[in-house]
């Protein structure tokens, strides 16, 4: 048994940290937060050049073929830097879905372009009830001759405006149970009838509403089995949820670092506030939460990496980190005091990111039920 990262993983960690420190400064994060689509093409290309988009993609599709452990290491650094990029959307929601369910032509056609940084993907999953349980997914795709026609509204679709392709989960029949009858369609964002509108969020992440209005697709746009996509969708929700959790661990680490530094500097009553036990114990709690959060994320990542059953582990990471991320940033505000209640101060950027990562891609209901089932409750 060994909890430590190996040499390659440590090198990846360090190089990602160094790169992001230089290429993803806070003013870039700030400036992009208020734009649509909210990321920098230049930064995206540099990331692609480092091979990050292909980290999880096998070598025969031009990727590196590493595992989710390395992906989690990388995501923690991206979270630490608040890196604004459609990275999880593209590498997990997009590339992993294709890898899991796509046919050879689809994989060959798209994956190398993702790796090269030329294509951005996302997935349209959630609808009006806000969840991602099978019963919540009801956008209809109807077969008309040799075409499929999609009609309906998807909500909370991440990075849709910048995406080249959207993987849209639609219901194609077989209503014997909610899990059945779901199919994934690969939709070019520019297809006629696809209308994208931003959802303005307090978390300032890039989420959109998509109205599919008589969108006509060919059978070759179907990824995976018709009316049999739920197992893949479920796996993707877990992977993407874990990816978000990994990112939040980085956010938490950054918040702890900046708050500790402030507590050592800030003097009240003639001494640094970090010498007061009330403050020390807050910070100790934050630290223990981070260690716990990381341990859950890495365990789930390792289970995914080694092909073990992992739904329970990813759910545990997503639930715990979601709560701990918010708690950590909130405690950060307490320690920084009024200055952190301003737009000028950086802390809100971290708080917003930890918030953005919590209720999306498997909210806590979804994961609680999944774990409860795993515990045979």
């Amino acid at each position: 048994m060994d909890f430590e990262l190996n040499e390659d993983q440590r090198i990846l960690q360090k190089s990602a940290r160094d790169f992001l420190k230089k290429e993803c400064p806070k003013d870039l994060v700030r400036n992009l937060a208020d734009t649509d689509p909210g990321h920098s093409t230049e930064l995206w290309q540099k990331i692609a050049a480092l091979g990050w988009m292909g980290l999880l993609v096998p070598e025969n599709y031009d990727g590196i073929g590493w595992s989710f452990v390395e992906q989690a290491v990388l995501l923690e650094e991206m979270g630490y830097a608040l890196c604004p990029a459609p990275f999880i959307s593209t590498t997990i929601l997009g590339a992993q879905t294709l890898l899991m369910s796509g046919n050879e032509d689809q994989k060959r056609g798209i994956l190398p372009n993702i790796v090269a940084g030329d294509l951005i993907l996302t997935m349209a999953l959630t609808e009006s009830d806000g969840g991602c349980e099978p019963s919540a997914l009801n956008l209809m795709a109807v077969r008309e001759g040799d075409k499929w026609v999609l009609n309906g509204i998807k909500l909370f679709v991440p990075d849709a405006l910048t995406a080249d392709y959207i993987l849209c989960v639609a219901r194609t029949g077989d209503n014997s149970s909610p899990e059945k009858g779901l199919t994934i369609f690969l939709v070019k964002t520019k297809t006629k009838g696809v209308n994208i509108a931003p959802l303005k969020t307090i978390s300032k992440d890039k989420q959109y509403e998509i109205n599919f209005n008589n969108v006509c697709l060919k059978p070759e746009n179907i990824i995976g089995p018709v009316a049999g996509a739920w197992p893949a969708i479920n796996a993707i929700i877990n992977m993407a949820g874990l990816a978000r959790a990994a990112e939040t661990v980085g956010v938490m680490r950054a918040v702890l670092e900046m708050t500790v530094a402030y507590a050592k500097e800030r003097v009240q009553f003639g001494r640094p506030i970090g010498s007061f036990q009330a403050i020390q114990h807050y910070l100790a709690d934050m630290w223990v939460d981070i260690l716990g959060a990381r341990s859950l994320v890495m365990k789930a990542a390792w289970k995914l990496a080694t092909g073990r059953p992992s739904d329970k582990a990813t759910g545990m990471a997503k639930i715990m980190v979601g709560k701990a991320g918010r708690k950590t940033t909130t405690t950060g505000h307490r320690i920084f005091g009024a200055i952190s209640f301003t737009m000028e101060h950086d802390l809100h950027l971290y708080h917003r990111r930890s918030l953005a990562n919590d209720p999306t891609l498997g909210n806590s209901d979804f994961h609680y039920e999944q774990i409860a089932a795993g515990l045979e409750l």
Partner: protein, 398 residues
Amino acid sequence: MNLDFTREELDFRQEVEEFTRRELPPNWDNQIVFWPGGYGTIPIFETEFQEVAKEFSLKLSGKGWARLAWPEKYGGEASVMKAAIVGNVLSYNRAPAGGVASSIVAPSLILVASEELKKEFLPKIADGRAGFWLAYSEPNAGSDLAALKTTAVEDGDDYIINGQKIWSSGAHVTEYAWALVRTDPDAPAHKSATLIIIPNNASGVTIKPIVNICDIHSFNEVFFDDVRVPKKYVVGEVNQGFYNVMLALQFERLTIGSGSFRRVLDELIQYARENVRNGRPLSENNQVRRALVDMAIEIEIFENFYWQSVCMLEKGKVPEIEASALKLVFTELSVKLANTAVDILGPYGLLDKDSTRAPFGGRVGIGYLDSISGPIGAGTSEIQKSILATRGLGLPRQ
């Protein structure tokens, strides 16, 4: 990163599991509480379980499993991992095993004591003939251990010891005190104390019972009146006591009944499936499901911390900060688990050990009370947080 046990470790676990099931007396589990993370219901500290405990320890020693973590030179296998597996399995089964002697005293002796002391005590500890209690706390030296007042004054080849210790778990059922005493009243606190072994049967040692909140006699107050102890019983160097106690702490943190948490979770899940309230199984009640999932998550974190510390020790590293985090997490978890159990059981959670209607033989009610002790004993949660903040995060001391 590899979070699997090896084939060999899994086989070993299986062997320990079979041994434990075979050797524990029938009906054992109904007699004892052993709440995870509490200090007041540990059966080896109770008089009435001594016979079973000694017999079980002897069988354990026969297997060589009481000294797995010790170096080969002293009859061990130098495997913290195997020792942790034994501890994990035994505590899942709430077996009467472990204790201060094999888990704290022996490794500390091996690290700092004279060869003479090692020769005298290690064999006795290995086969359970020498039990120890930790004589650290005093009435006015709890969290502020440096304020301890028990003195040891040189007299020829002996020390004369005077003072009082308190919260002395198991002093009444063991043979020796592992005592921290002041040897230099003029030196700065951290260079003024010495670790010394005091036989319970020495003249001038008086042990008085204290009954804990669970109505169990687990700890004591102990008085030393002109107790004469030979100098050879000094452990490590004179006036290095605080350092040596810290050294011992890293071992103590691993003797925490790591398996006992999951056992309670498993039992609560089973209880929720088998018991109906308001017309449906508790397991279908959303509050209950959530509460149990929350516990499963926290137990998972605790186990990650535990095995991570085991791996560090296995590699020869000292888990100092990790040990503090582990102590903090498992005792706070003890409280949460007790509260969750009481919430799920409702009025049944209040039933005492002797009630025939009490689920789990009253373990939950007594355990709830016992869980109060976890965050207080062996360095309070607040002390652990201060250690994490100052030594771990580098925040200024007051």
